[in-house]
Structure formats: structure tokens, C-alpha cells
């Protein structure tokens, strides 16, 4: 943490507030648990043995550091700034989600918890959670919206292979927010033995902080790698935003580098005037799932369903630190539609031989927009936070191809 009072890296305060956002809006039953989690997290953070075990697993199990890659043909195609990628899609399990899961399962074991639950949208966080549970021999229950179970079948099978129980959730629109509700219900009923591994930088304090800290390995590595490869920092960071964990993981270590601009990319779905999942662009502040943040909601505060082609982005909220970073002006936020993400997906396949997940395809779509407006000696660093294997079926369907 910085001692500079004007630092953007000093959040949250001791009550878990990022400016006006964040906090601990949970039922009384859970309150003592999240206070205990916070105490344990503080102790773990100060414990070199915990950090050493985290680092060791990231290196030898996850495969970190992930490469920093200059994309020459994409850069040439776009005809502007140099485009670089942080290759977190090469991690074990294929996305950045595993970084956080390693951290949280170590915390769970430190706290003596014997059962793990998680929510998942695209299934990437579910797979990552099932993976660490298999690795450490803990039983795992993953809640997943029934709609997502249907559109992410390969990941459902992966979770089952890894020994997890996948519980389809039929409430509401049967997507990520409903899965999160169900995970919270499970947690309330199993407070004594269960640890809830939340998959994004949202939820009640201390989750947004600890998920950010575990994911910040992305930005720390990228900063060092960029300095050692080019002798300078990037001009612009770009990342897709569902709940905001891969984005905050990349951004946070750079927040006090005043010359590094940052762009978070929400899912504009069918368009911001239609169905979408862009809570900063199309929502307003409210309270859901333990934190105060921007939410898609109607005038009465009823939560609206997000829509995105990407199951990992269609959450009607966003992590509270992003709400604060938006209001402070430090990070800019934009959005990309389903169509733009699909185009960007194909562009990366063709130009670089990399099949990205649909989530970072939204970031690539934004890169497609901004790179041509920048000088050739400028550097864009985008987070390639997941690979596209899980998405080939839905992409084929959208492209009208029958597999």
C-alpha cells in the first residue's frame, strides 16, 4: 500500500468502502463470518509463509509468470499503436480466474474450512475452483445458472471431471446473479464449515480487496515485463469487465503511474439502448450481493438481467473499486457489443493464431477502436484473460456454423 495520501492504491478504507462504494451489505448471519475472513486475510497477508506458498503454486501449478506478448500482425492490421497482450489465457485452466482461486483456497485451509462453494457464469471460475478443490482434496459445490449450464456445456463437464458438484440454478433468468444468490443461501446455511470462493472483485468486504490483491499478480508481472522488454511503461491498459477482477488485477499496480491511461470495457450486448450488461454505462448506484456499486436496475431498484454474448460478462453489477475509479476519473470505461466482440474474436484468430475467450474479445474490440487513433510509438497493453476453447460452440452458432 502506498503512503502517498493522493494514491489511487489506498482503497478501501477500514470499513471496506471505496469512496462511496463497496461496504458490507450482508445478512446478520454472515456478518461475523466476513469479519473473521477479514481478520484472517490480514494475518495471511502479513505472513511470509502464506505469500511463499501462493507464489510457489502460481509458478509451478498455474504456470506463471504468463508471457507478455507483442502482437505484430494485429498491430500492423490496426495501423496505429503497438498492441501487446498479457497472456493470462495460457494459465492452467485457461483464464485468470485461477490466480484468485489459489489465493482463496489457501485462505480457506488456513481458516480450517472443509467445504468450498462458488458461483460461476461462463464456468471459468467454476472450473478454476473445482481445480483447486481437487488439488487440495476439498469437496466443491458450484452454483451455475441453468441458462449458463446449457450454453457452457464443456465447462460443466470439466467441473464434474474435477469432482465438483454442479448445481443448476433455475431462479430468475438463471444466470450469474441467480447463481450468486444461491451460493449466498448455501453459505448462510453452512456457516461453520464452508468457505465461499467468490469469482470476481465484488461482494461484501473484504472480497473486492482480496480478489484484487490475488489478481494483481497480473499487473505486477506486466509492469516488470514491460519495463524490462521496452524500458518504459505502456500508454494504455485495456481490459474487459464482468465483475472486474481481471481488469483490476491488471490496472491496480499501475494506478499511480500517472502517464498510464486505462480503459475498462463493459459488455454492450445488443447495444446500450437495448439489452446489455454495461452497469457503469447504463446503470446507477445501488446495493446487491453485499456491496454498493453501479447496478442495472429499474426505478424501484429491482435488478435487471444483464445480457451479453459472453456468459462471463452478463452480470448486472460491477466491482465497487471500478465504480470508484470511474467517479474519480482515473480509469475510463467504454463498451463493446456482441457483434464487435465476435469480429474482434475472429480478428485475433486470423492475425495472431490465438483463439481468445469472448470476454477478452470485448477488450480486443476496444483496442481495435483506439489503436488506429494512437501513434505508432505508443503502446497498448491488453489483458488476454481467457482462451476461447469454451466458446467455440457458441461462436459457431452465432456465425451460423453447425458443429
Amino acid at each position: 500500500m502506498s503512503t502517498n495520501p493522493n494514491s489511487f492504491r489506498n482503497q478501501p478504507d477500514e470499513r471496506g468502502h471505496f469512496g462511496a462504494y463497496g461496504g458490507r451489505y450482508v445478512a446478520e448471519t454472515l456478518m461475523p463470518l466476513i469479519l473473521e475472513l477479514e481478520r484472517e486475510y490480514r494475518a495471511a497477508k502479513a505472513d511470509p509463509a502464506f505469500q511463499a506458498e501462493f507464489d510457489d503454486l502460481l509458478e509451478h501449478y498455474v504456470g506463471r509468470p504468463s508471457p507478455l506478448y507483442f502482437a505484430p500482425r494485429l498491430t500492423e492490421e490496426l495501423g496505429g499503436a503497438q498492441v501487446w497482450f498479457k497472456r493470462d489465457e495460457l494459465n492452467h485452466t485457461g483464464a485468470h480466474k485461477i490466480n484468485n482461486c489459489i489465493g482463496q483456497i489457501l485462505l480457506a485451509m488456513r481458516m480450517g474450512k472443509t467445504r468450498i462453494i462458488a458461483e460461476t457464469g461462463a464456468g471459468q471460475h467454476g472450473v478454476a475452483t473445482a481445480t483447486v478443490c481437487a488439488r487440495f482434496g476439498l469437496p466443491c459445490v458450484v452454483y451455475m445458472g441453468a441458462t449458463d449450464v446449457a450454453r457452457q456445456a464443456p465447462n460443466v463437464f470439466r467441473m464434474k471431471l474435477l469432482g465438483a458438484e454442479v448445481v443448476p440454478v433455475t431462479a430468475g433468468a438463471a444466470t450469474l446473479k441467480d447463481a450468486m444468490n444461491e451460493a449466498l443461501r448455501d453459505w448462510v446455511a453452512n456457516v461453520h464449515d464452508t468457505f465461499y470462493i467468490i469469482g470476481t472483485a465484488a461482494g461484501p468486504h473484504p472480497y473486492p480487496e482480496l480478489v484484487r490483491d490475488f489478481q494483481s499478480v497480473i499487473g505486477r508481472e506486466a509492469r516488470e515485463q514491460m519495463l524490462s522488454r521496452t524500458g518504459r511503461l505502456p500508454d494504455l491498459l485495456v481490459a474487459a469487465i464482468g465483475g472486474g477482477s481481471n481488469a483490476i488485477g491488471l490496472f491496480h499496480p499501475f494506478l499511480d503511474d500517472a502517464n498510464v491511461k486505462m480503459l475498462g470495457v463493459e459488455a454492450a450486448g445488443h447495444g446500450l439502448d437495448k439489452e446489455h450488461a454495461a452497469s457503469l454505462a447504463g446503470g446507477r448506484p445501488g446495493i446487491l450481493h453485499g456491496n454498493k456499486t453501479y447496478l442495472l436496475q429499474d426505478d424501484d431498484g429491482q435488478i435487471l438481467e444483464g445480457h451479453s454474448i459472453s456468459a462471463g460478462l452478463d452480470y448486472p453489477g460491477i466491482g465497487p473499486e471500478h465504480a470508484w475509479l470511474k467517479e474519480s476519473g482515473r480509469v475510463e470505461y467504454t463498451s463493446a457489443t456482441d457483434r464487435e466482440a465476435l469480429d474482434a474474436f475472429q480478428l485475433l484468430c486470423r492475425t495472431e493464431g490465438i483463439i481468445p475467450a469472448l470476454e477478452p474479445s470485448h477488450a480486443i474490440a476496444a483496442v481495435q477502436q483506439v489503436a488506429p487513433t494512437m501513434d505508432k510509438d505508443q503502446i497498448i497493453l491488453a489483458n488476454l484473460c481467457g482462451r476461447g476453447d469454451k466458446d467455440i460452440f457458441s461462436v459457431a452458432e452465432h456465425l451460423g456454423v453447425k458443429l
Binding site: 470499513r15 461496504g23 458490507r24 451489505y25 450482508v26 445478512a27 446478520e28 448471519t29 454472515l30 456478518m31 461475523p32 463470518l33 431462479a171 430468475g172 446473479k177 441467480d178 444468490n181 449466498l184 443461501r185 448462510v188 446455511a189 456457516v191 461453520h192 445501488g286 446495493i287 446487491l288 450481493h289 453485499g290 447496478l295 436496475q297 426505478d299 424501484d300 431498484g301 429491482q302 435488478i303
Partner: protein, 266 residues
């Protein structure tokens, strides 16, 4: 004495009944509320429907969704409350729900509307004492009780914070879990209520998992009140717009068991 204080000062335990506002339709709710009063309920909890009722089990989740599907708005809830108040000037009415619909137009707006509608208290599931500033001060200034929940995980260290700024009654959630789950053991309820009563003067009502007169009676012996929700909601689910009759019958049986629980022994 406030309406809530009077409800707990009748010389017998109180029956607190919960139904979701707007379930199955906003127009059907007034008759269901009247049935609760006619059946002998001492305090009415009116649920404000929410899309994401995280602390509720399947029965109340479904009730929330039915109410929203019927087009129930926050304005409907306040209309239902205000008309209840004109029909039943002395029966306390408490709104129960989740934070977002309560604060979405500003906590001041919400507190003002509650006061105008004659609401006596508010239970907000997901605003713990740590976030009291969000809603509590506005309700207290408007003369409305903030009714907090205590749970089996509320330890001695937290209890003073839970009690601070709460009034009307204390709602003891007898199981760590969601609504509609199994009932806690009587011994654990008795011990918990004793702890709560030692720390506070406000009445303690016990809820979660109480469905039948046979369950409610013994709890009423050790607590100031008993809360029943899911069992009533189940009747609304099965009888729809004709639910008032069955709701009145169950309430009558419950209120007898609760009101007479202490006489049975004597």
C-alpha cells in the same frame, strides 16, 4: 406507547405474521392482511418484493417473483400499507425487505413514505449495523422502528452493535440459514432468547422454520413473540386470490397456540 410496544404488552406472547406484498396480486393483498388480523395476528410483516431475495428459501423466493410478475411496485406496497392503516388503526405494520428497493430513491424518501403510510417499523435483511448510516438514521428521525435481526452467529461481542439503534422488537432468526428451513431445537432457542433478553429490554420474537401451532406454542413459552412466514406464503401459493380464508384459519390456529401457550402449563 407505540403500536409495536402495545402489541407486545398484552400480557401474552405475540403472533407476528409475514406475507409478501403483491402476492399473488397487489389487489389481493389487502384481503390477506385483513385475514391475518381477523385470525388474531398481533403484528403484520409486509414483505417488499425484490428480484434477488438472497436470504429467502424457495417459498418466499417464489412469492417475490409472483408479486413482481403481477406488476407490484413500491408505490403499490405503500398504497397497500396506507389502506391497511385506515382499516386497522391499532395493528402494527412492519415492512420487511432488502436494501436496494428501500434506498433506491434515497433513504429520506423511503422514511418519509413509511411515515406517511403509517408504517411502524422496517426490517432490512442486508443492512447490518456496520452499514447503519445507509438507512437507520432516516428511519429513527421519522419515528419508525428499525428492527434488527439477531442470529445464532451473533456472538456476545456483536450483540451490543446489533441492539444499538434498534427498537420495536428484536427478530431472533433461530437457524443459520434461509427462510423456510427446518426449525431449530427448542433448547437452543430458549438459551438464545435468554441471552438476548439479558442484554436488552426490547421484546424478542423468534422466527425461521416455524410452520405449525404445535411448533409455535412451545416457542411462545420462552419468547415474547413468534414469527410465521413460509407456511402462510404456501397457502397463498396454493390458493392464489382465494387465499384469505385459508390464511385466516391457519392464523387463528397459530394465534390460539401462541396466545394460550403460557396458560396451558398453569
Amino acid at each position: 406507547m407505540t403500536r409495536l410496544q402495545s402489541a407486545f404488552a398484552k400480557g401474552q406472547p405475540a403472533l407476528v405474521c409475514f406475507v409478501t406484498g403483491g402476492d399473488p396480486t397487489p389487489d389481493a393483498t389487502p384481503a390477506i392482511l385483513d385475514a391475518l388480523v381477523e385470525g388474531g395476528a398481533d403484528v403484520i410483516e409486509l414483505g417488499m418484493p425484490f428480484t434477488d431475495p438472497m436470504a429467502d428459501g424457495p417459498a418466499i423466493q417464489a412469492a417475490n417473483l409472483r408479486a413482481l410478475a403481477a406488476g407490484t411496485t413500491t408505490a403499490d406496497i405503500f398504497r397497500i400499507a396506507a389502506s391497511f392503516r385506515t382499516r386497522h388503526p391499532d395493528v402494527p405494520l412492519v415492512l420487511m425487505g432488502y436494501a436496494n428497493p428501500m434506498v433506491t430513491r434515497g433513504a429520506q424518501w423511503f422514511a418519509d413514505e413509511c411515515a406517511k403510510a403509517g408504517i411502524d417499523g422496517v426490517i432490512c435483511v442486508d443492512i447490518p449495523p456496520e452499514e447503519d448510516a445507509e438507512l437507520g438514521p432516516f428511519l429513527r428521525d421519522a419515528g419508525i422502528s428499525l428492527i434488527r435481526l439477531a442470529t445464532p452467529t451473533t456472538d456476545a461481542a456483536r450483540l451490543p452493535a446489533v441492539l444499538e439503534g434498534s427498537s420495536g422488537f428484536l427478530y431472533y432468526v433461530s437457524v443459520a440459514g434461509i427462510t423456510g428451513m427446518q426449525q431449530a431445537g427448542l433448547a437452543s432457542i430458549e438459551a438464545a432468547v435468554a441471552t438476548l433478553k439479558a442484554a436488552s429490554d426490547i421484546p424478542v420474537a423468534v422466527g425461521f422454520g416455524v410452520r405449525t401451532p404445535e411448533q409455535a406454542g412451545p416457542i411462545a413459552k420462552v419468547a415474547d413473540g413468534v414469527v410465521v412466514g413460509s407456511a402462510l406464503i404456501d397457502l397463498v401459493a396454493s390458493h392464489g386470490t382465494d387465499a384469505a380464508g385459508p390464511v385466516r384459519e391457519l392464523t387463528r390456529a397459530l394465534s390460539q397456540a401462541v396466545h394460550e401457550s403460557r396458560k396451558a402449563d398453569a
